[in-house]
């Protein structure tokens, strides 16, 4: 076997490959200046810009004048904005929860602690979605609940847009602001690993979502249960 390895290494010498093109020169015109996030995605201007656009839409489109339009909350770094209608998600950005793996593998694959809610016990299914910056780990309890954890750095860029039919209740988890969303499905936008915005339609086990954070980790709990049970689950997070 060793001989075959050596043969392969010898086969892989410089002459085995096509000549390397001058990548550095070719991309130089594309590097300066570094592309900043599109204006609408810069944290300092994102919300005012979005609100300005939506207000303009409300003013221009008569049927929309009666629509509710407000910033309904901020929890776990995720802004929740109520809009007249949630825009359709681009079809090419179908959401997924990533690849299946074990809890141990998930814990070693991401830079943040993956905690398990004692109220639900060990998760029957664990998935890792690498398409979001820092990765997102979902603990899936069949149709009962899904708890997704993601790195805090993603959060300032996360936006959730909810329509008029979604109820938003402000609450707390471990003394920090949390939001409970129930009713109609929602849409959220986050940055992928290349910093590009991704729109995703909420794929919910049902329409209830609790957003909260703990020690720099953001959590999204999707559950068919009501607020009281969701809070019980959220408050039972354990490192074990």
């Amino acid at each position: 076997m060793t001989d075959l390895r050596d043969e392969l290494r010898a086969r892989g010498g410089g002459e085995a490959w096509p000549p390397t093109p001058d990548i550095a020169t070719a991309i130089a015109p594309r590097l300066a200046p570094r592309r900043r996030p599109p204006l609408a995605w810069r944290p300092a201007v994102a919300l005012p810009t979005l609100l300005a656009v939506l207000v303009a839409c409300v003013a221009i489109v008569p049927p929309a004048r009666t629509a509710v339009l407000e910033l309904v909350g901020l929890a776990g770094g995720e802004e929740v904005i109520r809009v007249p209608t949630t825009p359709p998600a681009p079809p090419t950005l179908a959401p997924g929860r990533g690849r299946a793996l074990t809890l141990t593998q998930a814990r070693s694959a991401v830079a943040f602690p993956v905690r398990v809610p004692r109220a639900l016990g060990p998760p029957p299914e664990v998935r890792l979605d690498r398409s979001l910056a820092g990765g997102a780990v979902s603990l899936i309890y069949g149709e009962r609940a899904v708890l997704t954890a993601f790195r805090g750095r993603t959060l300032p860029f996360a936006r959730k847009m909810v329509g008029p039919r979604t109820r938003v209740v402000a609450t707390t988890v471990a003394g920090r602001r949390a939001l409970f969303l129930s009713g109609a499905p929602l849409q959220w936008i986050a940055l992928d690993q290349n910093g590009e915005p991704q729109a995703r339609t909420g794929r919910l086990v049902n329409a209830n979502v609790l957003l909260f954070d703990r020690a720099g980790v953001g959590y999204r709990l999707e559950t068919g249960a009501g607020l009281a049970r969701a809070l019980q689950i959220a408050r039972s997070l354990s490192d074990q």
Binding site: M1, L4, R5, E7, L8, R9, R11, G12, E15, A16, W17, P18, P19, T20, P21, D22, I23, A24, A26, I27, A28, R30, L31, A32, P33, R34, R35, Q105, S108, A111, R130, A133, R153, Q193, N194, G195
Partner: protein, 185 residues
């Protein structure tokens, strides 16, 4: 292949993070060969690999402000390169016929070296053909790990798996390659 970043590379990375184009240019020049060859592993032809490598470096430039300080640069870069080459292959014209994959690894015609005996040439041709016949998964791990001589960590980054998986996958792929070579004799 050194997996960790040198002091000089760390300095270049820090300057590039702050927007210094010349520092990033130096980083590109020091990694463009391994990046291009990695792209070749996942591309149908050198032209696709070149485009994928260019786009990957541009994406790396844009993503640098979010690159974790102190983390090794090469695995991060190769993961972007491999991802770019794979997605290009998926959206392209599916020209991944085995002959073309083998051609992507074929050298440009070179002057006839003294060592290039007929036997060596034949054996190399056998190896190339056997590699091209392997399933994609096996071929990729062998080419990255041995032909390109990447570390297990760098190979794992390009293959989106754990270093331990690289070891076991490479071992199985070697067994298969050996069996194929013996069967072809």
């Amino acid at each position: 292949m050194v997996g960790g970043s040198t002091d000089r590379e760390r300095q270049l990375l820090e300057r590039a993070r702050r927007g210094d184009v010349s520092a990033f240019d130096a980083l590109v020049r020091s990694h463009q060969t391994v990046a291009f060859r990695t792209a070749c592993v996942f591309s149908a032809n050198p032209h696709d690999a070149e485009e994928a490598t260019q786009d990957a470096f541009v994406k790396a430039w844009r993503a640098l402000p979010r690159f974790r300080r102190g983390a090794p640069f090469r695995p991060w870069l190769l993961a972007i390169v491999a991802n770019e080459a794979r997605s290009r292959g998926r959206s392209g014209a599916r020209r991944s016929r085995r002959e073309e994959r083998a051609a992507a690894l074929e050298p440009a015609p070179s002057p006839d070296g003294v060592e290039a005996t007929v036997l060596v040439r034949e054996r190399r041709a056998e190896l190339t053909a056997a590699l091209a016949e392997l399933p994609e998964r096996d071929r990729a791990v062998l080419v990255l790990r041995y032909l390109l001589d990447l570390s297990e960590r760098d190979t794992a980054a390009a293959l989106r798996c754990r270093p331990g998986t690289v070891k076991s996958r490479a071992s199985r792929a070697l067994e298969r390659l050996r069996a194929d070579l013996e069967a072809g004799r």
